[in-house]
């Protein structure tokens, strides 16, 4: 199961990267970025997964003794929460940039924004 998730995560990252590198349209690049991020999140969650573990919530199901052998690792989950929010922030800011760039040159082609050279 982790293997699948892991492959999915890596694949998303690579697909995202491919999008970032190959697409000229800025919105597409940001879409690539989103995918990249999602892939990352999948990876993080997968790292915390333990076969057969339950969610790290100590309700009656788990009981407060011997928890360690039953739950999945909560740390990556805590990290990924942060990562997701950061991802949103970055995406939003990038989109704002995209808008402004479009306003400036009436173009979304990233190769039109090459004024500063060398």
């Amino acid at each position: 199961m982790e293997i699948i998730a892991l492959i999915t995560g890596f694949s998303l990252i690579l697909i995202g990267l491919y999008g970032i590198l190959s697409k000229r349209n800025i919105i597409k690049i940001i879409v690539g970025f989103s995918l990249f991020d999602t892939g990352l999140h999948v990876l993080i969650v997968t790292v915390g997964y333990i076969k057969g573990g339950t969610a790290p919530i100590l309700d009656s199901v788990v009981g407060t003794t011997d928890v360690a052998s039953k739950i999945v690792d909560p740390v990556p989950q805590a990290l990924v929460l942060t990562a997701i929010v950061i991802g949103l922030g970055v995406t939003a800011l990038m989109l704002a940039y995209a808008l402004k760039m479009y306003q400036a040159k009436k173009s979304l082609d990233i190769s039109d924004f090459k004024d500063m050279k060398w």
Binding site: F36, I44, V75, A83, G89, Y97, F113, K114, K117, W118
Partner: protein, 1043 residues
């Protein structure tokens, strides 16, 4: 003692930031004040920790989140390093906010919030010991920066910001992958526990550590994956550039410093390699850069590269790591921020446009301070840091690293000095003044002053830095402050200062040093007297002239190699400023500086090699270098030869000396060149003097000297410019000196030293006189002068005696040197060198005749009919020096006997025998006084005869000559002066092709072409930049792990 916990930096900043959100956009003014208050608070907190920890009164403090111990919670550590780094960051915060006042106010509370949060985040990434936390706050920081970039209006800023976001997005993605996998493989996110638990990481963990470190390295904008960073530097507000370069890079570098050990020490070497590629690469590419902010960007990246090298070598540098890194870092920090801020004040995109800064000399001073601090001149901290770095690297056998580092530094010096040259002397037709916002000056001024202060306090931390004598520099500073006074006061002060200093210093010196010190100081005083001829304030002249003399005396007094090098660089800086004062001297000043810096680096390496195997840095270590002695001595010699302008390293001299001001030329020619000779003397003594251990080196040096003599004189013959003629002549004369010293025999040294003294005397006379004449007639071109003997007979007499002395015609002092030389040559068996010398002597005669003839004899030009005799203030030193020449000529034994005794210390064999006034060598004898008396006697007899037979001679008019049956009326057509030696030129033109210059030009061109081609990788396309980043990771991976 309880200090304010660093957590309050975060809490207060955030609280205030959130509170400012409440204020809304209308209250920018008050919110700006609040912002300042918050930043000041941060600065206060970190500074109190600096003082607390620095004085040892308090212990480093750990802050635990929610009171849980790490690794279970995130902890912040406030140690000494952290306190210093955060203090640096927060100071930039305060000053940056002041600098950007109008921009921050205009853009409203939002921008102020972003500004505050940026600095909060930089503090946290320095303090935090948790990888993921560092990641979060790095993101905070980069988002905040992305927000601040767009404070600058225009498409460029927007597209730069977007590229920045793309790049940092990918980088932080890679960082996050690394972090999450290192958690997977080590079970911790805490830096300390990862380091302690896993000294050597296994495969997967190592790859993750690699990813983390490479991501941070990329955040530091490592070359070549740094196009995005350059675009940001170029496009954003200069205030942001300063923050990026000074604060953000500092913080990120500290992160690298913290986490580098998570990969054990396995990555250190590669970090150094990446660093050196960055350093050399971006400095090389900057050669072609003309946009000032982008140029600063290149330089920032280069400096960070240098810091990475230091980090990678921390095991080798040991306890010096912090010192070296701090020295480089703090110089970079202060200077780069200062320059960025300055670029916002000057508001010139192109570096050539910076000429406007001339309108405000104090800004020029600030700019000079920053630039010289960047390229590592004393008294700035980078000088001491670079010194220590090179010493330690050489000491551990990393010569190739030293070479790479110095090459990079050299490139940096090239474009920095060129930039400064454009600012101070670039030729621009109309220079507009520029307006300054007062508040923008404050930060720049503070940082410039800070550079001096930090340098002063850093110096004693080197093992030998405490011994540095700052007294001359204090004097220079005082004169600098008094620069508003008129020349007459400053000149008197300077002369009195030098007299007092010389009086105090001379009892402590041995004979050899005394000779040079006397040349420097007495020569300095005499040439300064000529300064009275100038009217007005002559702004800037006295500080830089005295700076040069301070450096000169420092190299004489030096007890340690550091002091020596310190003095050497001070002297170089001073002389550069002196030289560049001349009209049209910008390209020459540049090449002077570059050769000097190149030479200084050779010297530095050589001194480093001398240090190997010794604990001390005493000058004694030059004696008997044991580590690669040929290379070491060779480097030292090359270093010194760059100052004596040996053939190949000479191309700076003619222009530099020729274009300098009238009283500066003698300073830099008669006096300054002797510093190089002094160095060579020291090196040769070190090489074991008479035991002739490194005779191959000496042999090569001898040939170099001979060829230099020939080439210098030959070039002088074909000059039309009087001062250049003298300048080339100096090259030739220094060639004689070098040849004499290289012979490594008693007679050779005696000849060399006699030349040292002589050259000082007559070259000072000639340069002073010709300089004074130039002041009167307003041209350097000899063919535009002529017949001046009628207007300035005293100058003529001076030049006549000067050229007789120079040409070596008996009975004047020059002959002493010649006579000693040929005896030495016969003794040594260097016949061909001797023949070349003699031939050069013949050539020397040609240019000397030309000098005196075309300037003073021949036809007086109409526009010079009313010129006055040269200034009395020039005549005083000139005639004092002439008196010296005459004494030396009449009583050569007064000089040569003590010199011989002195040299006997190193060369006891083959001394001259003195019988009365006759010097007897193995090959012949020479009675200087008697010869002089004989010649004078016959001269007087003949003169009396002539006077008797022509007592009724009457003066005829200028054109009263027999000229093909006509009477000429125009002096221009009658004065044979232009291209006089046409015949010789036709025969010898192949020898005058400036091959050396062509060679250096070719090298420059190749470097520029490389830079120009390579920098095309920065296509300005965001995607390409991302590709660079990923490629960088892949290549590093292949090299480090795959390969």
């Amino acid at each position: 003692m309880n200090l304010i916990s660093p957590i309050y930096i975060v809490a207060v900043s955030l609280g205030i930031a959130f509170f400012m959100g409440l204020l809304g956009n209308k209250a920018q003014r008050s919110s700006y004040l609040i912002l300042l208050a918050a930043l000041l608070f941060n600065t206060f907190v970190s500074l109190q920790w600096v003082f607390g920890l620095g004085s040892g009164l308090v212990e480093a403090m750990q802050v635990y989140t929610a009171g849980f111990k790490p690794p279970f919670s995130i902890n912040l550590l406030m140690g000494l390093n952290e306190s210093v780094i955060t203090a640096l960051i927060n100071i930039v915060g305060v000053l940056g906010a002041i600098y950007m006042m109008s921009s921050l106010k205009k853009n409203g509370t939002g921008s102020q919030v972003v500004f505050l949060i940026l600095f909060m985040s930089l503090n946290v990434i320095v303090l935090s010991r948790d990888l993921f936390n560092i990641f979060v706050f790095l993101e905070v920081g980069s988002i905040a920066l992305a927000g601040l970039i767009i404070l600058q209006k225009g498409t460029n800023a927007i597209s730069a910001g977007f590229k920045y976001m793309l790049a940092t997005g990918i980088i932080s993605g890679i960082l996050l992958i690394g972090i999450i996998f290192i958690y997977r493989f080590t079970g911790s996110l805490n830096i300390d526990s990862i380091i302690t638990a896993n000294p050597i990481l296994k495969q997967g963990a190592f790859v993750s550590a690699f990813l983390i470190i490479i991501a941070i390295v990329l955040e530091l904008k490592s070359f070549p994956a740094n196009g995005w960073g350059l675009d940001v530097y170029e496009a954003s507000h200069p205030g942001i550039g300063a923050i990026l370069s000074a604060a953000s890079a500092t913080a990120t570098y500290f992160v690298l410093y913290k986490i580098v050990d998570i990969a054990g020490s396995q990555l250190n070497y590669y970090i150094s390699i990446i660093g050196v590629i960055s350093f050399v690469g971006s400095n090389l590419l900057a050669l072609k850069q003309e946009n000032s902010k982008r140029l600063l960007g290149y330089s920032s990246i280069g400096q960070i590269g240098l810091l990475m090298i230091i980090l990678g070598f921390k095991d080798i540098l040991g306890e010096n790591t912090t010192y070296v890194a701090f020295g480089i870092l703090v110089s970079h920090y202060l200077a780069k921020a200062g320059l960025f801020w300055l670029s916002g004040i000057v508001k010139q995109k192109n570096i050539k446009g910076w000429a406007v800064i001339r309108k405000k000399p104090y800004f020029l001073f600030l700019m000079g301070t920053f630039i010289f601090a960047l390229i590592g001149f004393p008294p700035f901290p980078s000088f001491f840091a670079k010194w220590t770095l090179v010493m330690d690297l050489v000491n551990t056998g990393n010569i190739s690293w030293v070479v790479a580092i110095l090459f990079g530094s050299m490139m940096e010096a090239v474009y920095m000095i060129r930039w400064f040259g454009y600012a101070i002397k670039g030729e621009n037709e109309d220079i507009k003044d520029f307006k300054i916002d007062i508040y923008k000056i404050i930060p720049v001024g503070i940082f410039a002053v800070a550079l001096y202060v930090v340098g002063y306090f850093v110096a004693p931390h080197t093992e030998v830095g405490t011994a540095i004598n700052f007294i001359p520099l204090y004097f220079v500073a005082a004169i600098f402050i008094l620069d508003f006074l008129p020349v007459i006061i400053k000149n008197t002060l300077a002369i009195v200062g030098m007299i007092l200093y010389f009086y105090n210093i001379y009892p402590d010196l041995d004979n050899m040093r005394l000779i040079f010190e006397a040349i420097f100081m007495v020569g300095g005083i005499l040439t300064l007297i000529a300064g009275y001829a100038y009217k007005g304030k002559r702004p800037g002249f006295y500080p830089v002239a005295l700076l040069m003399y301070a450096g000169l005396t420092a190299i004489i007094e030096a007890q340690t190699t550091l002091q020596f090098f310190f003095g050497w660089e001070v002297m170089t800086a001073g002389s550069y400023f002196l030289i560049i004062r001349g009209k049209r001297s910008m390209p020459h000043g540049l090449s002077y500086m570059l050769f000097s810096i190149g030479g200084a680096y050779a010297l530095l390496t050589g001194l480093g090699m001398a240090h190997v195997g010794h604990a001390s840095f005493s000058m004694e270590i030059l004696n008997g270098i044991s580590y690669l002695p040929y290379l070491a001595y060779g480097l030292l010699i090359v270093g010194f030869l760059s100052k004596t302008a040996a053939l190949g390293l000479h191309i700076w001299l003619p222009g530099a000396h020729g274009e300098a001001e009238s009283d500066v030329s003698p300073m830099v020619s008669a006096i300054l060149l002797k510093a190089g000779v002094f160095g060579i003397v020291l090196t040769l003594i070190g090489m074991g003097a008479s035991n002739n251990q490194y005779s191959e080196l000496a042999y090569a040096l001898g040939w170099l000297g001979a060829i230099t003599a020939l080439a210098g004189n030959l070039m002088a013959v074909f000059q039309e410019d009087a001062k250049r003629l003298l300048a080339y002549s100096s090259i030739g004369q220094l060639g004689y000196i070098v040849l004499g010293l290289a012979m490594m025999t008693h007679l050779g040294w005696l000849g060399g030293f006699s030349y040292v003294i002589n050259h000082f005397l007559y070259k000072a006379v000639l340069f002073l006189t010709i300089g004074a004449v130039v002041m009167r007639v307003g041209t350097h071109n000899m063919y535009q002068m002529g017949g001046l003997i009628k207007r300035m007979p005293l100058a003529f007499i001076a030049v006549m005696i000067g050229i007789i002395a120079l040409s070596g015609v008996p009975p004047l002092s020059g002959f002493a040197g010649k006579w000693l030389f040929y005896n030495a040559i016969l003794e040594k068996g260097w016949y061909f060198q001797g023949a070349i010398m003699f031939f050069s002597g013949g050539i020397a005669f040609m240019y000397l005749w030309r000098l005196i003839h075309t300037v003073f004899l021949g036809q007086l030009k109409d526009n010079h009919r009313n010129v006055k005799e040269i200034s009395i203030w020039f005549l005083i030193p000139i005639y004092t020096l002439l008196a010296g020449i005459m004494v030396y000529s009449m009583k050569p034994q007064w000089v040569l006997q003590p010199l011989g005794n002195m040299i006997a210390k190193w060369f006891p064999e083959g001394q001259l025998q003195w019988v009365g006034e006759t010097a007897i060598s193995q090959y012949g004898q020479w009675a200087g006084s008697l010869v002089a008396i004989t010649i004078m006697g016959s001269f007087i007899i003949v003169l009396v005869l002539l006077m008797l037979s022509t007592r009724k001679a009457h003066k005829v008019k200028q054109f009263d000559i027999t000229y093909s049956g006509e009477r000429p009326e125009r002096p221009e057509t009658t004065h044979v002066a232009y291209n006089v030696f046409e015949g010789l030129y036709k025969a010898m033109w192949p020898a005058t092709i400036p091959l050396v210059e062509a060679w250096w030009n070719k090298i420059t061109e190749i470097l520029h072409n490389i830079a120009d081609v390579t920098r095309r990788i920065y296509s300005s396309n965001g995607q390409v930049y991302v590709a660079h980043i990923v490629l960088f990771i892949i290549v590093s991976y292949l090299v480090i792990i795959g390969g």
